[in-house]
Amino acid sequence: MSGRPRLGLRTESIKSLLRLERFPHIWCPGCGIGTVVKCYAEAVLESGIPIEKHVVVSGIGCTSRAPGYIKLDGFHVIHGRAIPFAVGLKTVRQDLEVTIIAGDGDLLSIGGNHFIHAIRRNDDINVILVNNFIYGMTGGQYGPTTTIGSITTTSPYGFIEGSFNVVYLAAALGANFVARWTPLHTKELTSAILEMFKVDGFALIEVVSPCLIYGEMNNLPPLEVMKVFRDRAVIDHDADLSKAYIDLRDPKKPIVLGNFVRRSRPSYQVLARELIKRARGG
């Protein structure tokens, strides 16, 4: 990966990318989403892409509130539909750098069909998926990434379903860029976002994030989760993703992080432009 961004020097200019009039924000103390916003803002400033060409899209949930605090063209649409909205926008406006910031429930449960098909089509969009293992905004119900045995408001006796290993899923579907970081790994996360901007095709970063709501029910308060990230993180860009599922509650399970997948499958949007040339006989 190319040179790391000059972190810390950007605090003042990041403010220019925030809607400070809307602060304080809605996120709980200890939540990881604010850090993701900061890393995204840094990457936007560092990207060299004109600010007005960056667009941020989200669905519904805690993470999906992010565009409301970011001073870009931002679209906070309905639950699960950030991806199709973004694909429509990006397809007709390929001059834009379209990034989705949304949560695990939004993108993988109600929006799961769009997630798999956007990767199959290889739409040229960036997705930052903040995975906090739970539906936080609605009060703590289980979701598609909740780990087995977890206590949630809708699994009071322990969660008995399987869960998605997000990076394995995205890699298997053929995404051009797949990474996983945590809010503890801000430099790596910002660098990964910068790399994502350069990818033609579907790019995914899963950000494994602490959540007060999940933590309260599973004896994993946010600070403990940050310690888990510190103590159990293993950075392995070549990791076997089939074994890289996350279980914060299992003390023996490493948190595998890295920039796992880099492919150069042409994006749908590039192929669609070529198709237009063919249709016009050119």
Binding site: R22, G88, T91
Partner: protein, 395 residues
């Protein structure tokens, strides 16, 4: 008329558009060609009978004009994709039928809430549920108006010919972009799939409405400026750096739980159509002047009803036809004069009673209103309607 520029090149798209002249064309295809003339450059859809010809035609024609066609994973993706494209400043549409239209309802509510101009062609088929996919129905009249939760207004057109599939699709785009609302072309299987004469006028005789873009600098721009009934619309990438949310929002586009903000927003969303209902609403009145009985019918049913009116007249019965061309807003004022004269009303539609409720809402306390329900799957014949006319005419 504005220039129609291809997205990819500065080349004008005119040479690829349907040439003026007389054609023998299917309704669905006429709707697709009209959309291209209206400036549509993005189509998103999912296969469903009996609307498929629109998607198939767009898949072939849009790339020629420099536009994009995507067959999405479902109707939910399709409606949300065209809303995203509209906020990219590109005219966009989808086409579907009953089951797909049901799936799109949440997205239609989104478009209404964030004031995204989009066009949805709903080629109605027999329902409920899967029903009879290949045969006609008119069961989506209420769904078009009330299908999504909350309070909002939409516009829905009721074509009754291939010519109107063409004309009203263009008008649907114009209305969508003028009022920033989702607009529905509420066709039916018969009108969508029939083949008949179409006259395409010269392009410079076709009115095409473009986006009302903001003229103020970004720091002064309010995306949902309530000083306007219909605020100017910025699109992504122009430097306005505006925020859009489907939450109840203030003039800045910021979410709010204030009742004052909710009142201001929801009131404006309905006012922009209600206060313009007589500008938007349209109808056709045939032989209404001396009519003692007025048939209200729309879409394919209106063509049977017209024949019934002629036959009734031949037999000396003073029967007229009132044909709403917009279901929503419902052009109730067009019936006023006949009602004031004491004419009674017979509503005929291919459902168990939808538009008749609206007619009753306006006139049931003034005149007798009769209803002829017709189950979906066929069009009532002129003879069927005439029998009903004779039954109620004597009163």
């Amino acid at each position: 008329m504005s220039e129609r520029i291809s997205l990819l090149t500065s080349e004008r798209a005119e040479e690829w558009l349907l040439k003026p002249g007389v054609y023998f064309m299917q309704g669905n295809i006429a709707s697709a060609e009209a959309a291209l003339i209206a400036g549509c450059r993005f189509f998103a859809g999912y296969p469903i009978t009996p609307s498929n010809e629109i998607a198939e035609h767009m898949a072939r024609r849009l790339p020629q004009i420099g536009g994009y066609f995507i067959q999405f994973e479902d109707e939910i993706a399709s409606i949300n994709a065209i809303i995203g494209a509209a906020y990219g400043g590109v005219k966009s549409m989808t086409a579907t039928s009953g089951p797909g239209f049901s799936l799109m309802q949440e997205g239609i509510g989104l478009a209404a809430m964030i004031e995204a101009p989009v066009v949805i062609v709903d080629v109605q088929r027999a329902g409920p549920s899967t029903g009879i996919p290949t045969l006609v129905g008119q069961g989506d009249v209420m769904q078009a108006k009330w299908g999504s939760h909350g309070d909002y207004e939409i516009v829905a057109y009721l074509p009754n010919s291939v010519q109107e599939m063409f004309d009203l699709t263009i008008e649907a785009f114009n209305t969508a972009w003028e009022y920033r609302v989702p607009v529905i072309v509420l066709a039916d299987q018969s009108v969508g799939q029939m083949i008949e004469r179409l006259k395409v006028p010269p392009l410079d005789e076709i009115k095409v409405v473009e986006r009302n873009a903001p003229t103020v600098p970004p720091e002064e721009y309010l995306p949902f400026d309530s000083r306007y009934l219909i605020p100017p619309m910025a699109v992504a990438g122009e430097g306005y750096r505006f925020h859009v949310t489907a939450l109840t929002h203030d003039d800045r586009g910021y979410p709010s739980t204030s009742h004052e903000v909710s009142t201001k927003l929801v009131t404006r969303l309905v006012r922009k159509i209600r206060e313009n209902e007589k500008v938007i609403g349209r109808y056709e009145a045939i032989a209404l002047d001396d009519a003692e009985l007025v048939i209200v019918a729309y879409g394919i049913t209106s063509r049977s009803a017209l024949r019934a009116v002629r036959e009734a007249r031949r037999e000396g019965l003073k029967v007229g036809l009132f044909r709403p061309i917009t279901a929503w807003p419902f052009p109730y004022w067009g019936l006023r004069e006949a009602v004031d004269r004491g004419a009674r009303i017979l509503v005929v539609e291919i459902n168990m009673g939808q538009m008749v409720r609206v007619v009753r809402e306006h006139y049931s306390n003034l005149v007798d209103i009769y209803f002829m329900p017709w189950a979906p799957g066929s069009v009532p014949r002129p003879h069927d309607i005439l029998l009903k006319v004779k039954e109620v005419y004597g009163g």
